[in-house]
Symmetry: C2
Subunit: 333 residues, 2 copies
């Protein structure tokens, strides 16, 4: 009673394998009673069709991949939930890959994935301004790809993002309205589309307020907490901005640590606003003003685009844009 396959089950039931097979496929004609009998016996014997045999035969895996830069982040986990909800409703499985913001890992995931392991990929990019040629492999293999949030401009596939430019403009304006005249823009990746958009929003908001743009206020950070801590310490003690606009959550966190350690009062000495989906932003000291993206909806839309492509057999090219929302809290008051 160890491993049982369709043949044994068929023999056990005095039926042919085709009939048994039919009982498990939704479509084919089969006598309702026979089907019930088969399924019942299958449950008893603990039989399940072998996934790899089916997938080989059908040339589809009913599985999609989600590639994200990180997990311990409410934005991505919410987006994943959105994707999974849709995927599950379509009978698809979901594979999650975490790049930890390493370009090389992203490349190798895509590589591994292009052997047919999945039918499609939803991804938020990690890959800075690197070569994106490896993604063309997917196109050649007709494997649909949908980007969300962090996209590559030079790759023509379906994308779901938020109104980053506008949000960024408004966030900067929010700081200016709160009295900041020297707003630093903290960014990790200026070359990623999302970084560019957010930077532009910042620049234009300054201009709109008649504040001259200063290059030294664009602070290039990294994915390493220690490095960021040092960079920000230096900025806060030498350049002394009175406003910080973090284009990424972790830079706001790093800023908080620096201010805490250096005794720089938020919001008195410096006001802080950040793109963030942090659930406990209200509990920080002080509570953090955030630009919050509709993470779950982003996931839902991305999944819908992917399945549209999967079902039609055509690659999708839509670009869906959703709106983020500013949640003012004490860090900018």
């Amino acid at each position: 009673m160890d491993k049982i396959d369709i043949k044994e089950l068929a023999r056990d039931l005095n039926l042919s394998t085709s009939t048994v097979s039919r009982a498990f496929r939704g479509n084919s004609d089969i006598n309702a009673q026979t089907k019930e009998r088969i399924l019942a016996r299958a449950r008893e014997l603990n039989y399940q069709p072998n996934l790899y045999a089916s997938s080989l035969r059908e040339k589809k895996s009913n599985t999609i991949a989600i590639i994200v830069p990180e997990l311990a982040n409410n934005f991505f986990s919410q987006a994943i939930k959105g994707i999974e909800k849709i995927a599950r409703s379509k009978g698809y499985h979901t594979l999650i890959y975490v790049t930890d913001d390493e370009y090389q890992l992203e490349v190798s995931f895509i590589d591994d994935l292009s052997n047919g392991r999945v039918d499609g990929i939803i991804m938020s990019a990690s890959g800075e301004s690197k070569d994106h040629n490896y993604l063309n492999k997917l196109k050649k293999k007709h494997m649909p790809l949908v980007f969300f949030d962090r996209v590559y401009d030079d790759i023509d596939v379906a994308k779901v993002t938020t109104n980053d430019y506008e949000s960024s403009f408004n966030a900067t304006k929010h700081l200016i309205d709160a009295g900041c005249g020297k707003v630093a823009f903290l960014v990790i990746n200026k070359s990623l589309s999302i970084g560019k958009m957010r930077l532009q929003g910042y620049v234009d908001a300054l201009a709109a307020a008649g504040i001259p743009y200063k290059k030294e206020l664009i602070i290039d950070c990294s994915n390493d907490h220690k490095k960021n801590y040092n960079i920000l310490s230096k900025v806060l003690t030498t350049i002394k901005p009175d406003g910080l606009f973090a284009s990424v959550e972790r830079l706001a966190i790093a800023s908080y640590y620096v201010c805490q350690d250096l005794g720089i009062n938020i919001p008195k000495k410096v006001k802080v606003i950040s793109f963030s989906s942090l659930e406990i932003a209200p509990l920080l000291n002080p509570s953090l003003t955030t630009i919050t993206q509709p993470a779950r909806d982003l996931g839902v839309h991305a999944a819908q685009l992917l399945f549209k492509s999967l079902e039609s057999g055509e690659p999708a090219h839509e670009h869906v844009v959703l709106k983020s929302k500013i949640m003012p809290r004490r860090s900018t008051m």
Copy 2:
């Protein structure tokens, strides 16, 4: 140049499929030059062995599953990192499943997984005191299972946990030493092994300090934030404990929200300690005293146990226990 299989590649190279196949398998004898030639041409033509065919043939998927209750939680994402590191080093892929603390989802994941999709499972349980019979299916199919952190006592498989009883004892003592005489224990799932252990540590620490145990101070919470908020509001306004011991991070968070809204000062009116791997515990208002588990190591150990079982073909039964660490912060000062 669309889809290419081993046959076409073989034809293209004037070789047999067996030889080509050998080029991709590590072991078999094959002329080094031939192999190089094959691999080079494969790269050119963008050929990769079909995963499903290989898996069907080899009867193994080189994939393992990780089942966790939630993602947006530093504990689990760290543990996942630990698992993935080991898995990757063994050439295995990793599938992540999130139950959202729903028992039914856990059951259905296990069900789906037992069709051979993965070679083994690492899981942190969601399933309260329910029936765990569905797990026996795995044993019948010789699919190894390893638990980490949240385990089922009635299932005899390998487990990796932390010294929950001891940590809980110490955490309670920490509150008592800080002057608390009326410590409430916040718990979600008393019937899960981990809940029991932590509760027992609390009870024994009270006894050791000569403080009588009061049943009303054991606060049963849920996974729903709103409900918890209400429960805790009531507790804090009626029972008025002077210490809160959250056996789970989200209960500390909920307590913070309640205290913030009700104007109850932490730590003056009530001190708070919690099991938590929250990275930004130091940034909360006030900074939160935590009992921090070695999440990543838990994952590493769990993966090692799983691979040991996978490699030996024998189920593993070890129970590894790692140590957590109390990080005192302002919430208990």
